[in-house]
Chain length 145, copies 2
């Protein structure tokens, strides 16, 4: 199994609401068959009905609608601390809940978190130890471990 | 907010168990401060304690340990149907639960799903409509919508 992720698919309760939310953040996707695909670097970010995603994955979904922590987060790293503030403000304006206001982090960065309409979490972070490439992609540093 | 994901972080209940699982699939990461970072194309895939991830995100975690559907999936697309079978077999061998055996899909592909040690879902798919670039990255087709 090669070391890469092709798609990250969020199971959403209201496709139109979620699509509008990401569009308010400036993202542009393509809808096909009640699924919205956003190009995201060399991967794609996908919105699909939560019931369909669970069924398609062969699992039950007893926690549907609980809005509890889903157990994972997505991060969007930026080049300056000021961009963290700008994006968190734009997300709040677009209807997100800021779950952790922007603040300096233990690793010498600056970051905050918001929850999208289904409670999925994004951390917006400036991490001086994770330099982004020109195209926005990340090459992990050598941790020297 | 640029249209890209920097990190996908899974909150895991046993970091050593999860790290060993992904290593059995051939992935190689770097551990730093009880966090394991895997380069994954132009993004990184990260394993971190679920309790720490929830706290760091500013949310409570009432569903911890329920193992219920987390509401999202990751997909790993491959170039041939045979690779789907190979990877699902390797995942099962590594300790995964196959939640949907490989089968032909409605879109003319061939795919199956497995759950990792915490129940996080991966779909392994051959989708002839999603041609992978040489480096394994995906450029979405024009859906003509």
């Amino acid at each position: 199994m090669e070391q890469r992720i092709t798609l990250v698919t969020l199971g959403v309760t209201d496709l139109a609401r979620s699509t509008a939310f990401y569009e308010r953040l400036g993202w542009r996707g393509q809808e096909s068959d009640a699924t919205v695909f956003f190009q995201a670097g060399g991967s794609a970010f996908v919105l699909w009905g939560r019931d369909k995603l669970a069924a398609d994955s062969g699992v039950a979904d007893p926690a549907a609608g609980s809005g509890a922590f889903a157990g994972f987060t997505l991060a969007h790293n930026v080049r300056t601390p000021a961009e963290v503030d700008t994006i968190l403000a734009a997300a709040a304006e677009a209807g997100a809940t800021v779950t952790r206001p922007a603040a300096e982090t233990f690793y010498g960065g600056y970051a905050g978190c918001f929850a999208d309409p289904d409670g999925y979490l994004w951390e917006i972070a400036h991490n001086p130890g994770f330099q982004l490439n020109e195209d926005g992609s990340l090459t992990l540093p050598d941790f020297g471990a």
